[in-house]
Each structure stands twice: as structure tokens, then as C-alpha cells.
Amino acid sequence: MKYLHLVWSALFRRKTRTLFTLLSVLAAFLLFGLLNSVRQAFANAGQSVAGASRMITISKVSFMVNLPLSLEMRLQAVPGVAEVTYANWFGGIYQDPKNFFANEAVAPNFFDVYSELKLPPAQMAAWQATRTGAVVGASLAAKFHWKIGDQIPLQATIFPQKGGVNTWTFNLVGIYHIANPRERQQENALFFHWKYFDEAAAFGGGVAGWYVEKIAQPKDADRIAQAIDAISANSDHETKTQSEDSFQASFVSQFADIGLIVGGIMGAVFFTLVLLTGNTMAQAVRERIPELAILKTIGFSNRSVLALVLAEAVLLLALGGAAGLGLADVAVSLIRARLGAIPMLPVGLESWLQGVGLMAVIGLLVGALPARRGMRLRIVDALAGR
């Protein structure tokens, strides 16, 4: 610590240059924080504690192909299955396509299977009693300033009503919450009665988009999946059953390999950052050769000079990186509050630890060559300006 003022003063010897370099580091770590937040949101999709005890059954052909409702009773009979529910994707739009959020027609026991979606008993009763009732997550309600009693019109993109009416109007009767902040992304959805959907839709009656089975023991998942899929084997509606985690992972991977994309972008960003900060450090040390020579003259060892330059590089990265990650934390909170549909997790301890690791590694990397130069300089040559 006694050398901190020495490192600090060396870092801010050229204030403008250091400021611009700090801004570059800040921007890189801001991007890292934001992208890592998205990556983690996708990586964590479906990985809730409750999700480990749920399985999803879809058509073996495609997620878009429906399954007969008659399957429900047979699934319920499979040993190890505690409860079965089902749902249909609706795909309605609220006011504008950019206001995207998930909206699904669900069975009456949907909230029993998804017990992490907490709905007050009175609202649950109201939903069960209201044919056109809808339940939304707290984040979605906050985003559109909805309150209980509001009517929510959704424009159908797939399922018009009988008679050609394209607008489905739902009565908001419940707002659910999720306690775990890492799963709060699931608060951006609207659920309404499958029965209302089935009766009012112009086509597609008597089918479920997918089934969800709550199982008693997660360790039995493989056996149960095989038993479920065996029910429909060699039929016109063969099924594919997997754990909710696996389902979410394969669903996300249909869009893109988020980890690969984020990794690629961050690789490019940090590569540029290494070149930029490396250049800054090289310039800074080149300018200070006589000063480093003086330090050695008065007794600083080669290793001390090496450590001072490395500490300067790491401090540069740490200042910019901490500011960038802090800003990312604030930005993610704002984005989550205002644009709930974007999957992001708060910048948590994991991101900070990864960030600090990157700051240290990049700092040591960009400081290595200048530090070596400082360490190896010959005092008499440096003082003579050679």
C-alpha cells in the first residue's frame, strides 16, 4: 500500500490519455457486464429448483405440432408422475409487435405445477371463476402499468376467434410474483384459460401445445421420459419428453448459441482492449524511462520496478473495469425494469468475479512488456538518455 501513491501518480501523469484509456476499459467492461447478463439469463433458463422436478412433452416432429388432449389421462397414469398440466402458445400482440411477451393458454392446474409463480388465493379464485380472466407477472404488469380489473386486448397472430374477430380481450384478475430474483424473468408472461381458448379459437380445438409433468423424484426422470414416449410410439403423434432444463436449453439453442455469440463478441472487444491499453502502457513507460532509472538509482530493485509497472497496468484495468461493471449493474437494473422482455440477470457475484479475473489477467498481460523494459533498463544509459 505504501507504493500506491507512486503507482497512482504515474498512472495520471498524462491525464487526458489515461482518461481516454479508462473510458475504453469502461466501455469494454460495460459491454461484458451487459452481455454476460444476457448469457447467464439464457444459461439459467429453466434451471430453477422447481424446474428440476418438471418434464416437458412435445411432439417428436416439432414444437409447433400439437398433441391430442386425450393424452393427459395416460400421462397421469405413468408411475412417478405426480401431476400433469398442459398449455398452448397463443402468440398475441399487445398494441405493437415490439411489446413482445409470452402469452399462453393454460390448464386450470397450471399454477399448481408451476408453484414458484405465487398468486394470492383471492386472485387465484377470481381467475378460476372468470372465463376470460388472465394472470400476468408483476414485472409485465409494472411495465404496462396494468392493475387488477384492467382489460387487456391482444391481437391474434395465429388464432383468430370464431367469426373472424382478431382481437381477444382478457380481464386482468391476478398478478403473480416470483421470489427468486434470478428467475424473475418469468414474470414477463400472460396466462389465460385453455378452455376459453379452445372454445373461442377459429381452429385447432381439442389439442395441447405441450404437456408438463410434475414428477415425484427427479432421479426417475429418464425412466419416466421413456415411459411417456412409449405411450405414443408408432402413433401419428409420437412424443419427445425431456427435463425442463434440457427443453429450455434446446429451445434457446434453436435461436442461436448465445454463449458462442457472447464469447465471440467479448473476445473481439478484449483483444482490442489489450492492444489499446498495451499501447498506452508502452507509451507511458517509454516516457518515464528516466524516472524509472531514478527509482533504481535510489535503490529500487529490478523486481520492484517490474512490480510498480505491472501494478500500474492492473490499476488502470481495475479502475475502468470496476466503473464499467458498476455501470452495467445499473444499466441491467434499468433495462429489466423498463424492458422486461429482454432476458437479463442482475450483474451478480459471478460476473464480478469473472470481471475481476479479466482485469487482473489483461492488466498483467498489457503491463508485461513495458514492465520488462523498465526492469531491464541500465541506469547509466537511461540517465544519459541512451
Binding site: 501513491h5 538509482t297 540517465l383
Partner: protein
């Protein structure tokens, strides 16, 4: 009593490309404890090289240097660095202060290598600045001080760890006459009142007058030696 600095048969050869340049040629010199020695000579005569060798900034090609009976020509780089930090103070022509640090912080620099706590380091630096008459300029950065003041801060830095030996390379070479007199008077006081042994390289005969005696170098050889050197040679 043995001299503080004993130099025997000292040679220094620099290699520049294929060319070998002998800067010092079999120099013998004794510097007594408490001496104020001025080294004079034309450019390229080897004055600064000799000073650098005495101060442990460079190693000889041949010969021996002992300071307080310790053979510094045998020390490795790390040992030399440690030895310099506690035995030698350096004063250069262009002050060589760190521009981003205050006068006080500059003076404190050598003490960072000791185990002194921060409060002690600060008080030692304050005493050194007081000694050179710059206590009131402690918070100022080098850019806010005159040349003479900067050189006095450099002297304070050189003496703060209480070394026995001060090596000064053209300490007045960049100063006006008035400032030069102040700096030379200060060095003389450090020599006479505080017992510092000083070796000063200078081009200026007036500056050399402040020393207790003067030696001349020419083409790497002492051409006018004091009694100590003659005795050493014999």
C-alpha cells in the same frame, strides 16, 4: 585510518558495436571520510563514469572499488540496489525529481525502501526539507519550484536516508549563479557540519572552489592527484 572509498587499478571499457572504448584507465584513488572532492576534466574524460562506479550505478571492467571497506565491484544488481539505498545519495544536473509527486513525496522516496512507518517517513522528509531550507515548499510539485529549489529538493532526497556518501554530477550545471551558490553552500554545509563525504563532478572551477580539494581527469586517467591518490599509487 582507512579511507571511505578505495579505488585500485580501476578500468572501464564500453563496447559500442565492434568498437571498444576505454573510458577509465587503471585509476587509483582514495577518498577519505568527510572529504569534499571535486572531479574536473574535459568532456569525455571519464568523470561521470568514475562517479557512477563510486556510486554503484555501474560495474568496472577491471579493478576494485571498496566503500567503507565493502567491495561494491563484487556485488550483484540486487545487492548493489540495496547498498545504494542505504549508503549513497545522488544529486544530478537536471534534478531528476518525479514530476507528479510533491517535494515532500519526492524526498520520501528512498524511505519507501525502509521499514519506517508512514508517519516516520513523513517526519524524516520534513526534517530533510527543513535542512535545505524548503520546509514551506513541501506540498509543491517540481513544476512549481525554481531550478535552485528543485536541486535543493533533490539534495534533501539524497540525504534523507542519512547516507555517508553523496555523489553529485554537475549539481550546478543547470542553475544560474545565485542558485548555484546556494546549492554549493548547502553541499559545503552538509560536508562540514554533518560530516557527509561528497564527490562532485563539475566543469565549473568556481564550483570546485567549494570542495576541500580537486582532482583532474583526462582521457580516463587522473592527471593531478591529491595526496591520498599519490599515496595509494605508491
Amino acid at each position: 585510518m582507512s579511507p571511505l572509498v578505495e579505488i585500485r587499478n580501476l578500468s572501464k571499457v564500453y563496447t559500442r558495436g565492434r568498437q571498444k572504448i576505454e573510458v577509465l584507465h587503471h585509476v587509483n584513488l582514495d577518498i577519505g571520510k568527510g572529504d569534499f572532492l571535486a572531479l574536473m576534466g574535459p568532456s569525455g574524460s571519464g568523470k561521470t563514469t568514475l562517479l557512477n562506479l563510486i556510486g554503484g550505478l555501474d560495474s568496472p571492467t577491471e579493478g576494485t572499488i571498496a566503500v567503507a571497506e565493502r567491495r561494491i565491484d563484487k556485488l550483484g544488481q540486487s545487492e548493489l540496489a540495496r547498498w545504494r539505498s542505504s549508503n549513497v545519495g545522488f544529486v544530478f544536473q537536471f534534478y531528476n525529481l518525479l514530476p507528479m509527486l510533491s517535494a515532500s513525496r519526492n524526498v520520501e522516496l528512498p524511505l519507501l525502501l525502509t521499514k519506517l512507518p508512514a508517519a516516520k517517513r513523513r517526519s524524516h522528509a520534513a526534517v530533510a526539507l527543513e535542512l535545505v531550507g524548503l520546509a514551506d515548499r513541501a506540498p509543491h510539485k517540481p513544476g512549481e519550484l525554481s531550478g535552485g529549489q528543485q536541486q535543493r529538493v533533490a539534495i534533501a532526497r539524497a540525504i534523507v536516508s542519512d547516507p555517508t556518501l553523496l555523489v553529485c554530477d554537475e549539481p550546478t550545471g543547470d542553475l544560474d549563479r545565485q542558485s548555484a551558490v546556494e546549492v554549493l553552500t548547502l553541499l559545503q554545509r552538509l560536508n562540514r557540519e554533518h560530516g557527509k563525504t561528497i564527490v562532485m563532478v563539475t566543469h565549473d572551477p568556481k564550483a570546485a572552489e567549494y570542495a576541500s580539494h580537486t582532482l583532474h581527469l583526462d582521457k580516463g586517467t587522473l592527471v593531478e592527484a591529491g595526496a591520498e591518490a599519490q599515496a595509494a599509487a605508491s
